[in-house]
Amino acid sequence: MNFETVIGIEVHAELNTNTKMFCGCAREYGAETNTKTCPICLGHPGVLPMVNEKAVELAVRAAMALNCHVADQTKFDRKNYFYPDTPKAYQISQFDQPIGFDGFIDAEVDGETKRFRIERVHLEEDAGKMNHTGANHSVVDFNRTGAPLIEIVSEADMRSPKEAVAYLERLKEVLQYAGVSDVKMEEGSLRCDCNISVRPYGQEKFGTKTELKNLNSFGNVLKGLEFEEDRHRKLLLAGGVMRQETLRFDETKKQTVLMRVKEGASDYRYFPEPDLVKLVLDKDWKEAIRAAIPELPDARRVRYQETLGLSAYDAKQLTVTREMAEYFEATVAAGAEPKAAANWTVGEVQGHLNKSSETFETIKLTPARLAEMIELIAGGTISSKIAKQVFAATIEQGVEPRQYVEEQGLAQISDEGLLRGLVVEMFEANPAVVEELVGGRDRKKGFVIGQIMKKTKGMANPALLDQLFHEELEKLK
């Protein structure tokens, strides 16, 4: 029997705001535990939440970047449940009126573009962080409690684990470029849960699904889903019946582990949040939000090819992250030739960053310095060999390339092939001079050397040039 896999994904992304969703506590990853809380996010009696305007705008921005319809009017709802990470005993979320709905993103899978539909994007608040420190108790840090989140629910459109990862990669890229979230899975600002089921080909009804939670990297999304896909198929082939359950992926065991068996629909008793009034998103507000969306990766890739003359491959490489794309663009803006700027950015610069804790924003080889270095190479001031030395000095010590080259005397052209070429070129262009030189009149040597020095802006290595001059002259005698 052949099976078809069906996957749907829920993503939670923390919004890039300064403060929490309903109070003025700072939203800060890694702060000392329980130092970013107040009576509002701790759910004390009598407090009132107040909506963070920026969070609404970022959620709308996300909905727009994901090609959703944006609601004209929306509201918040209470989702009631008891859990120690949620001190109010309810989460403020959105139930029947999400901020965005009916969207999609296009992602590439095996060289082909596939459209994945997005059911809804809604705004809600995050829970605190629990750590299970003992057998009988846990500890809670409420710094994250009340941080603004968007939940993005896809339609069950993915047909393989690979497609699920392609969707997630594209989604992450869009959220990052739109400036909605910093999408760091390792810091929990991007989290995803996947629903997977398997059905015989041609069957319309979905199979029984299982939910994979706490997937902390795209690599684990792939491995976890592949494991589940295989488990579902084998069970069905053996005539078994799938149970609806929630699992997590165990990295060390490389398998999924049961967390709980789902018993019917959860009863969250949603109702409209009485502490908050409705949100009306009028045309002017929506337009202002749309106008503030930074250029998305697709548009950048087109522009790199059409106006900067780069290949589709280069354009794709450069737009892997917004930081990289912006670094590249700043380098070009500082006067660098685009192709050279692209090669350095995706090559040596990225290579350096992979080995260090620096980023494109903190790197000592700033776009201006890279542009200067590229100019030194393009202008023949330094050879590609010397460039490596200049690159190392700039990226490690933050030197100014031109100044450094001058101070270190690196500007000399010691490239034998280049200098020999210049000598030959000069000989060919001046047959009368060559005749005099061959005839033994050495005073014309000064003319030839002078011309080459002029051409190299005085940077040719004089000793080498002298040697090459004589070697080439001997050949003509």
Binding site: G24, E32, N34, M50, V51, H137, F142
Partner: protein, 96 residues
């Protein structure tokens, strides 16, 4: 007339994590039925053509600027917490 049975009362009590005695279940079943019956009087009104509302106040877009305000000192959070361990609030383990 609203119809509430004991099973529903037990379910709601469970969701609210309330321990109720059999006696209380009987008592609440009667009371809840009366309360719902009272609220049901509203159904006598003809609301044809009236837009549903989600809030009693006809206000919209009450928003706050994204500006950081001081949080509570941690010592205060510790004082308010029922139990505390190394800068974190200690809670009973939750088994799912």
């Amino acid at each position: 007339m609203a119809n509430i049975n004991e099973e529903q009362v037990r379910h709601v009590a469970h969701l609210a994590r309330l321990a109720v005695t059999d006696e209380e279940v009987q008592q609440f079943t009667v009371q809840l039925e009366k309360i719902l019956g009272f609220a049901e009087q509203l159904n006598e009104l003809d609301t044809t053509g009236v837009e549903p509302t989600t809030h009693v106040l006809d206000l919209k877009n009450v928003l706050r600027k994204d500006e950081v305000r001081p949080s509570l000192p941690r010592t205060e959070v510790e004082r308010l917490a029922p139990d505390w361990e190394d800068g974190q609030v200690r809670v009973p383990a939750v088994f799912e």
